[in-house]
């Protein structure tokens, strides 16, 4: 956040200021403020009903905010209808016009802009080549596969050279293998074109892999807006910590000793820098540790700092093994060991001690 505040004003492509939108008594978007830099790929991530789609509809102009203002390239757009804005939208179900050919679909926005005929033909062909479907112009949308339709929808939205592009869960209807391919392709095209992109998803791995920054939303509010790595390693609150990835939650009591927070977690005492345990956190708090911050070490090892336990199950996942450990003080922990060596080394029933990389710990 501090980085964007330091950026020059003309570098901000989209600025959302204190936007509120309610449906009945529910605050779908509750005082949201966001700044997106030019060319940035920002994802709105959250569970269904968190307000991310409402926010997208507000940016696109399909809904109007009750209060607050949205600026695109510095200009307020609340007074403009959707058709007067210059924002490309890719819809979840593609929303290609079924009575038009692929080329006519892509040309539609250019016709609306009164672009000359030869120029339309040239730009349509260029757009189809960009999404690697140059031969498909004469087809009807229903003759294309889901992935192809998605690419045409992207070409149609980009060909008008919008100020920004909004993508509403564009890959949710595409099967898993193709989805990964489409993600890479979208990211490549986005970088080539250099267009500011707002991407909506409820799929956190999709968000983590594609985004420059991610805004995690819940209950109509932005919980955290930061780079994927910070979101993962430094979640701003307990919601983000639990929502992103897998995490171990350990109940503890906290007191401050100088620049350290001392956490009494049952029989185990953990010390972390106070920066990782914000002063606002309650005395009764939760210690959050990612599975990969925990490692199995032989019982009695000097490295052990999170007690001892017994392996209850092994979960082999190809690139790593997750050990489910029943700690002696009652915790059920998930430890992530890279490779597959842990399968033999820590069989079910084996006694072990636990090492936690406390630099990766968070307390809320």
């Amino acid at each position: 956040m501090s980085e964007s505040a330091a950026a020059p004003v003309n570098d901000i492509a989209l600025s959302i200021e204190k936007v509120v939108r309610t449906f009945g008594t529910a605050r779908a978007v509750d005082n949201v403020s966001l700044e997106v830099r030019r060319g940035e790929f920002v994802t709105l991530l959250g569970p269904s009903g968190c307000g991310k789609t409402t926010l997208l509809n507000l940016i696109a102009g399909f809904l109007t905010p009750e209060s607050g203002e949205i600026f695109v390239d510095g200009a307020p757009i609340s007074g403009l209808s959707a058709f007067e804005r210059n924002i490309g939208v890719v819809f979840q179900n593609y929303a290609l016009f079924p009575h038009m050919s692929v080329a006519e679909n892509v040309a539609f926005g250019l016709k609306m802009r009164k672009v000359t005929r030869p120029e339309i033909a040239r730009r349509v062909q260029e757009a189809l080549e960009m999404v690697r479907l140059p031969q498909m112009g004469e087809r009807r949308p229903r003759q294309l596969s889901g992935g192809q339709q998605q690419r045409i929808a992207l070409a149609r939205a980009l060909v008008i050279r919008p100020q920004l592009i909004l993508l509403d869960e564009p890959f949710s209807a595409i099967d898993k293998n193709l989805r990964a391919e489409m993600q890479v392709e979208l990211k490549t095209i986005q970088r080539q074109v250099g267009i500011t992109t707002i991407f909506i998803t409820h799929d956190q791995s999709e968000a983590l892999s594609m985004s420059d920054r991610i805004a995690v939303m819940a209950q109509g509010q932005v919980q955290q807006f930061s780079e994927p790595i910070d979101l993962y390693r430094r979640p701003a609150n307990s919601f983000v910590a639990s929502f992103i990835g897998e995490i171990n939650r350990l109940a503890c009591t906290r007191r401050i000793e100088g620049d350290r927070a001392v956490l009494e977690c049952g029989p185990v005492q953990v010390r972390v820098p106070t920066a990782q345990a914000p002063a606002g956190a309650a005395t009764e708090s939760m210690l959050y540790l990612r599975p990969e911050a925990l490692r199995a070490v032989p019982a009695g090892s000097a490295e052990a700092n999170l007690g001892t336990g017994q392996v209850q199950a092994q979960v082999y996942q190809g690139t790593h093994v997750d050990l489910i450990v029943q700690a002696d003080n009652g915790w059920l922990l998930r430890l992530r060991e890279p490779g597959f060596a842990a399968l033999d080394r820590w069989p079910v029933g084996a006694r072990l001690a636990i090492h936690a990389d406390l630099a990766e710990a968070c307390v809320y």
Partner: protein
Amino acid sequence: MTMADRIAKPAFIALVAVALAFVTLPSVVVVIVAFGEKSIMMFPPDAWSLRWFERALTYPDFRKGMVNGLYVSAWASLLSVAVGTLAAYAIDRFAFKGRALLEAILLSPLVIPHFTLGVGLLLLASTFGLARGYSVVVLCHLILVVPFVMRSVYVSLKNIDPMLERAAASLGAPPLTVFLRIHLPLLAPGLAGGWLFAFILSFNEFTATLFVTNNTTQTLPVAMYNYVREYADPTMAALSALLILATALFLIIANRFLGLDRILSIESHR
């Protein structure tokens, strides 16, 4: 196969057969009667002839009624498509005061007896000093068929993905352009279906038409009614057979060009 299935299947087939017979038998009887020789309708005929077909095709009132009917139905069906489409569009897309009332008024002819409408229009026309001209007949038919067109268009409209409207808007299309370039082409099958039903309903309408026509504006069904009041020969049956044939041809041609299967089926976009 369970016991229930073993009984249910033949029972179902029998039911369908009975229903088909009920629907088609009267027409079959009329067509057979049309080929009778005697100048009185009898079933089955004891001698055969085509002379009643000749009379049906040459009788002046029938010729005039046919022309009048086509004229009235053409206007009524075209106007009903325009009115029904705009009304269905307005009711579906825009929230305005009196929306429910408008819908109720436009659909009310479905529950008002045609007799009532015919008498009412006759009284109104004479109150305002309007002669019983074609315009009153067209207006009468328009009122009667608009609900059918409206329903047909309304269903087609419901089948259009609402996201298409948003997609078009995001590409810079104002509302009128969305209607003309997106909705109208996608509604075309529904419009064609609505027009087809409107035309056939209008052409066959009798009860209300009886009140609002006179000797010069009478449509074919009214001319037929006047004929049976005077004669009991099989001319009527012959004319009916010809009408069945014409309507069937009309539907076959319409199916070829418009695709009735597309009109009558409900596609799912959602």
